[in-house]
């Protein structure tokens, strides 16, 4: 943590704005190409293993998907979606789901515990369990429904983008495990460039709706996803994710007004007392 403290870009519930760390770094990103994902779940296994997460009981729910959604002990999930193409053929979509590490993180905006959610200089958004109070506000603030409550620890938990590996120059565990090369890791700039090349290639090959998912509503994410068929909603992704209006209204407008109102009331009554004094019966 001491090393990482040098690399803070933003911190939750920072009273007078975050004091940033000494270092600036290139933003890192994962590259996920859903068109070459084969749904082998090697990334799921690697995530559980590297992060030492306990295995969660699974149930047969008529899908290849391991769990219906992410879990406090399952940070990396391949989502399987079945659709029919326009000409009646089958379409089997697989997308690796995990924390998107938004440049404008809704979780961090909503978090009331100072320093419990931090964004490092390289763009990774991380939860510090020592400071987390388990209130769940981050889950309300997240447009991707990522942070989950871990019952026994009473803390929120999510993908760390393997910050401990990235810190020492390794790629995240999920990337390391991928056998098809549909997962890549590097600087955001490099991953976007790679993504644009791949989208152009897909379009040339008949996937006219192919797109690079890097939603501007949250100022882009540190996960760059190639969607072969476009339509983020087909892949269980929000079309236009952004920090919820309720969180913005509460954090940026109502709370400052409330703090001012509280102090103004105290000062107001003090001024009142100096002007009108106590109300007493005439002598």
């Amino acid at each position: 943590m001491s090393e990482q403290a040098l690399e803070i870009k933003r911190s939750s519930a920072a009273m007078w704005g975050t004091k940033t760390g000494l270092r600036t770094k290139d933003t890192v990103a994962k590259y996920i190409d859903t068109t070459t994902c084969i749904g082998c779940k090697a990334c799921e296994a690697a995530c559980v293993e590297w992060n030492d997460l306990r295995t969660v009981a699974t149930h047969q729910e008529g899908s290849y998907q391991t769990l219906p959604e992410l879990d406090a002990q399952f940070w990396n999930l391949i989502r399987f979606n079945e659709r029919t193409t326009d000409d009646g053929g089958p379409m089997w979509l697989m997308r690796k789901d995990q924390c998107m590490h938004c440049a404008e993180p809704g979780c961090l905006a909503a978090c009331p515990a100072p320093g419990a959610i931090v964004q490092y200089a390289n763009g990774i958004v991380d939860v510090d369990p020592a400071k987390c109070i388990g209130c769940g506000y981050c889950a309300t603030g997240c447009p991707f429904d990522v942070p989950k409550f871990h019952k026994t620890s009473g803390k929120m938990s999510k993908c760390t983008l393997c910050v401990d590996r990235v810190e020492v120059g390794l790629e995240p565990a999920c990337i390391k495990a991928c056998p098809t090369g549909c997962l890549q890791f590097g600087t955001k700039e490099e991953m976007v460039r790679l993504g644009n090349v791949r989208v152009a290639q897909l379009k040339k090959n008949g996937f006219e709706q192919a797109m690079l998912y890097d939603p501007p509503g949250v100022n882009g994410t540190s996960v760059v996803t190639i969607l072969g068929h476009g339509h983020p909603e087909w892949y269980d992704l929000p079309v236009d994710p952004h920090v919820p209006w309720g969180v913005r209204l509460w954090k940026q407008i109502v709370r400052p007004i409330g703090v001012i109102a509280a102090f103004a009331t105290v000062i107001g009554f003090f001024m009142h007392y100096t002007k009108y004094g106590p109300k007493e019966p005439p002598a």
Partner: protein, 224 residues
């Protein structure tokens, strides 16, 4: 004559409302005072555990309850205790809290002249402002509870419900804190002699005649 002979009637009388004992009048009997302080105590526990979560500006309050994590843990329980105390308060005060013809002035701009220490109306046991405060507090307690339950168990409610609840909880709190600061000011420094009605339970005849003339006439049976 010993002191005891003088004090005994007052001690007995302090268990009953609206009783005149010598120069004193019992304004709030013991039950009333206990209920009031139960509400106040639970409110302040909820306040000290809630404000550090509300804004890091009040983060220091968390130390009063044992840290921010403990604050998150006890705040809902303090809130429920506050609501239960508020129910007792509601039932206990309700008979005195009807808004009559006399209190109409309190619904107009005339109410503001009270703060210039002008008389808004001929006041009974409670003036219109106090009755309005009572209803605001009851509504606030309900708002805190209804918006607080989803915030207590955020995993079981949809996101949009939580967004709205956090907002309602906040707005209710802002209204509450402004109201309570005013309540404390008027009950202590601004109107001397009032605070005793919530501690000892009694006020002086002079106080009653000045602040609540109709009530004074009713209690003492004096014509004017």
């Amino acid at each position: 004559m010993t002191v005891q002979h003088i004090e005994t009637p007052v001690i007995v009388a302090r268990d009953r409302d609206n009783v005149v004992v010598g120069d004193e009048i019992v304004r709030h009997r013991r039950a009333t005072r206990l209920i009031h302080w139960s509400v106040a105590l639970t409110f302040f526990i909820a306040l000290f555990s809630g404000m550090p979560i509300w804004s890091p500006l009040f983060g220091w309050m968390a130390y009063l309850v044992g840290g921010l994590e403990i604050a998150r843990l006890i705040h809902p329980y303090a809130g429920v205790a506050f609501f239960i105390a508020s129910i007792f308060q509601f039932v206990h005060w309700l008979p005195d809290m009807h808004f009559g013809e006399d209190q109409k002035g309190w619904l107009s701009g005339k109410a503001l002249t009270y703060m210039r220490w002008e008389r808004v109306e001929e006041s009974g046991k409670y003036n219109g402002g106090q009755i309005l405060f009572f209803w605001a507090v009851c509504l606030g307690a309900l708002g805190f509870l209804l918006s607080g339950i989803p915030m207590w168990f955020p995993l079981y409610f949809p996101k949009w419900v939580l967004e709205i609840c956090i907002l309602i909880h906040d707005l209710t709190f802002i209204g509450f804190v402004v109201g309570v600061i005013g309540h404390i000011y008027l009950g202590t420094a601004a109107e001397p002699g009032t605070f005793g009605s919530m501690t000892r339970g009694t006020v002086t005849r002079k106080w009653a005649k000045f602040h609540h003339p109709s009530w004074y006439k009713e209690v003492t049976g004096e014509k004017k």
